[in-house]
Symmetry: C2
Subunit: 445 residues, 2 copies
């Protein structure tokens, strides 16, 4: 078999990159569970008619077929899920009778899209979602909570600075209604282009595409320009002089999200009320979230979501919810390709126990067992080569310690970074906490 070539759009990590991904996923999971979110995994395949309910994305779906399928196969008409929201909606409808509501779940799984591969767009990628689903109505405070949970997860991760931009659809719709806009979705679609077009062009488009002119267009642009890391944004909105009950509701809600996430801000993570953010998708009805990573603007949002009044409905019961989805692959892939982040070693191993000769391998195994029994990841040298070669085995993998058993039954451990070697007892020796497991190393830290 010739050396295989990579498959475009299907990124695959080397062991040291996988340790970075595992560390990120572990941190997410730990935070989600600390807030009481339960894990689920859904099957990779969903019926095509479910996947294609939103016409716009149909060409991105991977269809499944058994190589020797029979005509009336039960699994005919299946496709791979392209996100974790459609499967969640189906899971809640299918298993609703066995779930307790409000249902707080997290889900960390691969998803597949047949998109043209490029940086930030993959055909297979890992997503980490949290959602809270309730029956008939959902308390507003969960819109604060999901932002708090993601903020807390990010606060513990050494990624480049992340900036979560929050807005509220009640605020936007109330404001637009208050200034007399007739085509609210049309105005949102135009304002969504503020990232790419100048305010002057947006003003023209408001006129030509959304039928908003003059003073109203100025107000739309003034509103969209409001952005603040504290609740001062509310004063700026009030100063525009527009009055509407839905606007007041949305303003109060957005204040609560900004206040609720304030304690979690740091040099690495900020939350900002940004009234330009609308999220194109029709189904959002309250708070909306997007997240940018400093230095990676072209990636777009790496963590997005919002409140929706109807995740799913079976006719008699409606399930509202709120959720945020973090793109793990989308975030890590460009950090790997630019060398921004790496693991301190390529294996879990903290100690390699040297082997003097094959006859004494059982003695080295016993030392390894004693260390491992106390939670220290350890390997025994694969061969009784010269000690220099055994040290190189550790060094090439970034393993910090090599253990030597002496003929007299005593032993010693060498920190191969400093060269320091000290007598040690495998039943009591502990490595420095920072060396016990691989940790993340960030360029420039």
């Amino acid at each position: 078999m010739a050396r295989p070539t990579p498959l475009s759009g299907f990124p695959e990590w080397l062991p040291e990159q996988r340790i970075v991904e595992q560390t990120v996923v572990d941190r997410l999971r730990q935070t989600f569970e600390a807030w009481g979110y339960a894990s689920i995994e859904t099957r990779a395949a969903e019926p095509l008619d479910q996947l294609l309910r939103k016409g716009e994305i149909d060409k991105e779906v991977y269809v499944l077929r058994r190589l020797h399928a029979e005509q009336d196969d039960a699994d005919a008409g299946l496709g791979l899920h392209f996100d974790l929201t459609v499967p969640l909606a189906r899971y809640v409808l299918e298993h609703g009778g066995h779930l307790n509501f409000p249902f707080k779940r997290y889900q960390i799984q691969k998803v597949w899209r047949g998109e043209r591969p490029q940086e930030g767009r993959y055909r297979e990628f890992l997503q980490a979602d949290i959602d809270v689903i309730d029956v008939d109505s959902l308390s507003f405070h969960f819109e604060v909570e999901v932002a708090q949970v993601m903020s807390e997860a990010f606060a513990g991760l050494p990624l480049p600075a992340l900036r979560m931009q929050v807005n509220n659809r009640n605020l936007i719709e109330g404001f637009y209604r208050g200034i007399g806009v007739a085509d609210i979705p049309g105005v949102m679609r135009v304002v969504d282009k503020l990232d790419k077009l100048s305010p002057e062009t947006i003003r023209d488009l408001l006129e030509t595409e959304a039928n908003v002119t003059g003073a109203a267009a100025d107000l739309v642009l003034a509103f969209a320009a409001i952005s603040a890391e504290d609740t001062s944004f509310a004063d700026a909105v009030t100063a525009l002089g527009i009055s509407d009950p839905q606007l007041d509701q949305g303003l109060g809600e957005l204040v609560r999200v900004i206040e609720g996430t304030a304690p979690l801000r740091s040099g690495r993570f900020s939350v900002v009320a940004d009234l330009r953010i609308a999220r194109g998708l029709d189904y959002y009805t309250g708070t909306v979230y997007e997240t940018r990573m400093a230095g990676f603007d072209s990636l777009g949002s790496v963590c997005s979501g919002g409140r929706y009044d109807s995740l799913a409905s079976d006719g008699s019961t409606t399930y509202p919810g709120v959720g945020i989805s973090f793109g793990v692959t989308r975030t890590l892939a460009p950090l790997f390709s630019r060398g921004v982040i790496r693991a301190s070693r390529s294996v879990p191993t903290c100690v390699v126990v040297a082997v003097a000769d094959e006859e004494s391998r059982p003695a080295s195994d016993a030392i390894a067992r004693a260390l491992r029994a106390r939670g220290i990841p350890v390997e025994v040298s694969p061969s009784a080569a010269k000690f220099g070669k055994q040290i190189r085995y550790a060094d090439r993998r970034g393993i910090p310690f090599v253990w030597f058993a002496d003929a007299d039954g005593t032993s010693s451990v060498k920190d191969i970074r400093s060269g320091e070697q000290v007598p040690a007892d495998p039943t009591i020796w502990q490595p420095p906490t920072a060396d016990l497991r691989p940790h993340l190393v960030v360029e420039g830290d």
Copy 2:
């Protein structure tokens, strides 16, 4: 949308079952990493020509197609992987230049097969594999190690009793050669049926299908009947009076595996030399492993593997290896359907902080923050309903503790199982270790 029906062959767990699966996977990972195995994940899709190299399994493969694929799509001709060994072989060839050998890796991922669904056979299921791969030659001691690693993982899991049956292809082939068998694979295929057919029938088949008669057939059956939890099996083989160098090598190797796993045996886990085990697959060349779960004989083996001299080859370099694969879904699904194992609760949450009224929610949030900061999974009650209803919220999920903030700033915690309520300070209170996280509950324990 009507209530969806389950998809046969694609098992999906409720949150409390998922906690069982997570606990099992965490234990596997913890053990694999304690022995220095590094995690990799491979993409779900492989080129069809790689997946179909072994003709026998071709009808089980799921083929991928983009819904609106163009003629010359780069991802045409892809299928979902049906195991984790074919992807490992491709990964080693593709990334070999960036890997350090011997390469010890673990891989815990879903795989897909278009088989007719039944108990023990699924279309999507989770596998946990460990393998050690080296270049050109692989030290024998890794054949002992992989059995030790899986044994240690099982020893920490409260599953029904597991019995690992080990044999050695050198021992089998040496013995067969020593008694003059010409068609060694043919005899192995017949002996493999000893599970289902009587020794008399096997004796007939040896004659009709493998051209072995009389004394030789008796020796084949006597050899296959040897089984022991200690190294006494070696005496039983020697007593058969056959001499062959490959037999001697295999016997010595099998003794080392049995000795090496002896310390890990318990009432729940045993390792036995069982000379009937051959593993049908041609590519095994040394130790072979199978594992049965007590009370679930019809499942067949839940954890199998062996040594192979050529996992992959690019023409100039050959990669030998040894590996074992544990079927996570295959093992857990029947335990769930028979109610043998469950989690102590359906959510990670250890404490629900009650909310007296919506105005005091921030005070409850602060208590939750203090508890969470010390690693205690905690939720704040979703509503300020009557306390009885808030206690039921916890009770329905199996959450053991409910926390009450009193108006005077003090607070107390109630164990809702015993009803005992005691004053408590959120900055110092600790739950009993057994209650901190959900644990596994096994029927009859």
